[in-house]
């Protein structure tokens, strides 16, 4: 049984409460929140946290800890720039994942090329032959199948031409670790999808829902505070105005 209900006061114009009061009236169920946290830890690959959480929150982990591990290893391999290892592990898990998703496969191979180029850029007098060989043997044959592939390949090769200290933003972005994260996320989603699981953790949809609903409500001119505080440290700027807005000051002072 769930531990509490989500009850909302009727939102008819005549009994309209202040936004903050209505927020306080809603009691999200701890069971639901814990479920969302567990879903996140498993979906995005935090096996030991998931295990501890199952114990501390007294809930059943929905799947075995071991089944998360391959995804964690693949993620960490991509993060570390060891794309070859990642591709091997993905194929060990299920060779169809990359076969059925040429775009994802290409993204991984291009990332591997970027890592080869990065090596050349960081070591003085490095040999660029391995990078060129890889580009011609692995990426060039795939490029004609999709105009975007071709463009991506060309842009990547431009890294070899320009000096690393002075790259244009689109080129610099290729060397940013964020690209590894993006690719790792896509790989994770593809593996989850292939296992018949949700591709994304619920918490992502949830934070998007709030962001979307806030924008929609502002666009529609709804009566909501100028800033919706969550109580995270990052929100601290401009808290003073918020306090004035939030009728009951002391419970709104947020945790650090």
């Amino acid at each position: 049984m769930s531990s509490s209900t989500v009850s909302v006061s009727a939102a008819t114009p005549t009994t309209r409460h202040s936004f903050q009061r209505r927020v306080d009236e809603i009691k999200p169920s701890k069971t639901d929140i814990n479920f969302v946290i567990m879903d996140y830890l498993i979906n995005e690959g935090y096996p030991s946290a998931a295990k501890k959480f199952a114990m501390e929150a007294n809930i059943q982990p929905p799947i075995e800890e071991e089944s998360i591990l391959p995804r964690v290893e693949i993620r960490n391999a991509i993060y570390a720039g060891d794309i070859e290892k990642a591709i091997h592990k993905i194929n060990d898990l299920n060779p169809q994942i990359l076969d059925l998703d040429p775009t994802l496969h290409f993204a991984l191979l291009r990332l591997q090329l970027i890592e080869l180029i990065r090596k050349c850029m960081t070591t003085p007098d490095a040999d660029i032959t391995p990078a060129l060989t890889f580009a011609t043997s692995q990426l060039a044959p795939r490029a004609p199948t999709n105009p975007e592939f071709l463009e991506d390949l060309e842009r990547t090769m431009a890294l070899l031409i320009f000096p690393p200290e002075n790259l244009a933003p689109p080129l610099a972005a290729l060397l940013d670790p964020a690209l590894r994260q993006t690719v790792a996320t896509r790989v994770n989603e593809a593996i989850l999808g292939s296992q018949g699981a949700r591709r994304e953790a619920r918490i992502r949809n949830l934070v998007r829902l709030r962001a979307w609903a806030e924008r929609k409500a502002r666009d529609a001119g709804k009566d909501i505070p100028d800033k919706l505080d969550l109580g995270l440290n990052a929100d601290k700027e401009g808290d003073d105005e918020d306090d004035a807005m939030n009728g009951n000051g002391e419970t709104d002072a947020m945790v650090s």
Binding site: K51, E56, I203, E214, I224, L230
Partner: protein, 668 residues
């Protein structure tokens, strides 16, 4: 029934007499399952039980234990029926009133508005029953020593949410939730229209007075915009003798009723005689086919887009009207020839047209729009790495939630894993992730220990810890203190039931029937004492308690029982004068556990379940947080709360929010 005697002994103070007598009483209770010879009503035959509970409600006759129903089935089945009905959301409603009184159209199932209406409906029923039951048993209270009255009170006061009562506040009665149309109005119609039987069928009666005169009718409620899409169907049962002057559509309450809808301002309709549509005027527009007897015409409005569409016999004809922005529009039909008969379906039965798919597509469209959002949207719009911001936000939300709620070990493990993750990423660049080491604070560790104690069922330890760590919390939060004390009782009952072993029931099965018709509490206990002697002997012989010596286990059981009853006394003494209804109810519910031989197999089993520890632990945790000057809800909870309110705002006028149910779409 026997459970009464035990309860009575606790309540009326008899339990404080000598030891053998008391354990005798309880031991018999342990076996009363077999005695009653009616194991079935505990679980299954809710139909039977339901009748009892209903008749009990209906006549409001709550005095006297020797009523016939008490003997035949007793109060136990009443529990069974109520718990049994919890599983399906409509159970409570279903047997309380006619099925037609509350229904959810298929395309609105699972929607937030449908949930609200259902909650409101249930709360209303509960309030009505409460009123009746209070009325008829006003004298009953826990402090009264007359056990029969007390015990009796327990039964009618239970309703669908029985064991939630300890955990949650009584549901808010939401009077303001807009109902959807359920039938044609008996009052809001032109005289020549007659509403038949169930309120769904309407018929034009008698000759038309003048050539120009027509008759139309509205429904009992307008179509709620909060539904997002509203849809209904009308079957032409008969076009009458002379023609098919029939209009199907909708309009405001201002539309005059001696005209066919569509011709008057604020009305819109599709007419059967010419297949034209009319929007606030007598000049129509060619739209679709004519319709006649046996045709099923559907009419729907998408409040988000402001478009209205019609269907015929399950096929969509197309959008008829745009820019429908009015509040409070009622489904309407109009006729002008004698014998014309129409039958509406407001969702009581399945629709001919597949409206469910239309609503589903609409929901998917909105979900798609939401997923295009960057979750951290409102936080740092300036950033050029939206996905990373979302990830960072989620990290922070998770870390803060774990720390806030005192999941210390998890927080540590999560921080370590995130650190490892960023280490792999950061071999030659800024990781782009914030350092997520949670502050090791003593507060979190204390709260973790208190939670762990409660989750272990060790309430004393939790109480001791709390008193030492934050002495004010229990004093300032009497309700939480009360819940902890009740939970302790439940844990003691749990221990008792764990000491009794299933096989014991079979050994005593044969000799239990002699006392079953005797409702005199005192006599009963005496008999039980006799029985206890034999039971005890057999127990020792047949029992194979894991590693325990039989005698030892029996002694332990008695000691435990003794302790439980004494504690029950204390609990009662401490709180029975409390005037609050929730407290009384929680006490009653908790003590009712003693009634069952093995509460784990009774309908009260959910109360015993370990999952009941969680809400108590959470409430105490929140109270401690508040006492520390921190927010009682974590940022992630706040995010859910805000999302829920924002979505409700967006649903109010039939906007996109109407297609979102935060809980079932996003939290499960």
């Amino acid at each position: 029934m026997f459970r009464r005697s035990s309860y009575a002994s606790v309540v009326s103070g008899q339990a404080s007499s000598t030891n053998p007598q008391r354990s005798g009483a309880f031991s018999h209770l342990v076996n009363s399952n077999a005695t009653s010879g009616q194991a079935a009503p505990h679980h299954g035959s809710s139909g039977h039980a339901r009748n009892h509970s209903r008749s009990l409600e209906a006549d409001g006759h709550h005095n006297g234990m020797s009523m016939p129903w008490g003997r035949s089935a007793g109060p136990l089945p009443t529990y069974a029926s109520q718990f049994g009905s919890m599983g399906n959301g409509f159970g409570v409603v279903g047997h309380e009133e006619q099925a037609s009184s509350f229904f959810v159209p298929s395309y609105l199932k699972g929607s937030r508005h449908a949930e609200r209406l259902e909650e409101a409906h249930k709360a209303k029923l509960a309030a009505q029953r409460e009123h009746r039951s209070n009325h008829s048993s006003a004298t009953a209270s826990l402090s009264t020593s007359s056990s029969s009255v007390n015990l009796h009170k327990m039964v009618p006061s239970h309703r669908g949410m029985t064991h939630d009562i300890i955990e949650r506040a009584p549901p808010l009665v939401e009077e303001n939730v807009a109902s959807w149309p359920t039938r044609w109005s008996e009052a809001d119609k032109f005289a020549q229209i007659e509403v038949q039987g169930d309120g769904l069928e309407v018929r034009f009666q008698g000759p038309a007075k003048t050539h120009e005169e027509s008759a139309s009718i509205r429904t009992d409620h307008p179509m709620p915009r909060q539904c997002g899409i509203y849809y209904f169907e009308v079957t032409v049962v008969s076009k009458g003798k002379e023609g098919r002057m029939i209009g199907i559509g909708f309009g405001s309450s201002k539309v005059v009723l001696n005209r066919i809808p569509g011709w008057e301002p604020e009305s819109w309709a599709y007419h059967g005689d010419d297949g034209m549509i009319f929007s606030n005027t007598t000049s129509g527009k060619q739209f679709g086919p004519k319709f006649t007897t046996t045709d099923v015409i559907g009419c729907g409005i998408n409040f988000r887009t402001g478009c209205a569409f019609f269907t015929k016999n399950g096929n969509e004809i197309g959008v008829a009207f745009r820019d429908i922005k009015h509040e409070k529009l009622y489904p309407m039909v109009g006729m002008r020839k004698p014998g014309e008969t129409l039958r509406a379906n407001f969702g009581q039965t399945p629709f001919v047209f597949d409206i469910d798919s239309i609503v589903k597509k609409e929901k998917e469209k909105i979900q798609g729009e939401i997923n295009l959002m960057n979750g951290s949207g409102s936080h740092s719009s300036k950033s050029n790495r939206p996905q990373m911001d979302e990830t960072a936000l989620i990290h922070e939300l998770t870390v803060q939630y774990l720390a806030h709620d005192g999941y210390v070990e998890t927080a540590r493990a999560f921080a370590e894993e995130v650190r490892e993750e960023s280490r792999s990423l950061a071999n030659n660049a800024d990781p782009g992730l914030k350092h997520l080491d949670p502050a090791e604070d003593m507060d979190a560790i204390n709260r973790q220990q208190i939670r762990a104690a409660i989750l272990d069922g060790d309430i004393d330890k939790a109480l001791k810890h709390t008193a030492a760590y934050r002495p004010t919390v229990l004093r300032d939060n009497e309700n939480i203190y009360f819940k902890l004390r009740c939970r302790k009782f439940i844990e003691m009952v749990r221990k008792c039931t764990e000491l009794t072993v299933p096989s014991k029931r079979s050994t005593t099965n044969g000799q239990q029937h002699n006392g079953s018709d005797d409702y005199d509490v005192f006599d009963h206990q005496m008999e039980l004492d006799d029985q206890f002697a034999t039971t005890d002997g057999q127990w020792g012989a047949n029992e194979s308690m894991d590693t325990e010596e039989p005698a030892d286990s029996s002694a332990r059981y008695q000691a435990m029982l003794q302790e439980t009853l004494t504690y029950g006394q204390e609990l009662k003494a401490e709180f029975s004068n409390d005037p609050r209804r929730e407290v009384k109810k929680a006490l009653t519910d908790t003590f009712a556990l003693m009634a069952y031989p093995d509460a784990r197999e009774s309908s009260l089993a959910p109360l015993l379940d370990v999952s009941g520890r969680v809400p108590v632990a959470e409430e105490l945790n929140s109270a401690i947080l508040v006492s520390l000057g921190k927010s009682s809800s974590a940022a992630l909870e706040r995010l859910c709360q805000q999302a829920e309110v924002l979505v409700a705002d967006l649903a109010e006028d039939g906007g996109a929010g109407a297609f979102i149910n935060v809980r079932s779409d996003f939290l499960r």
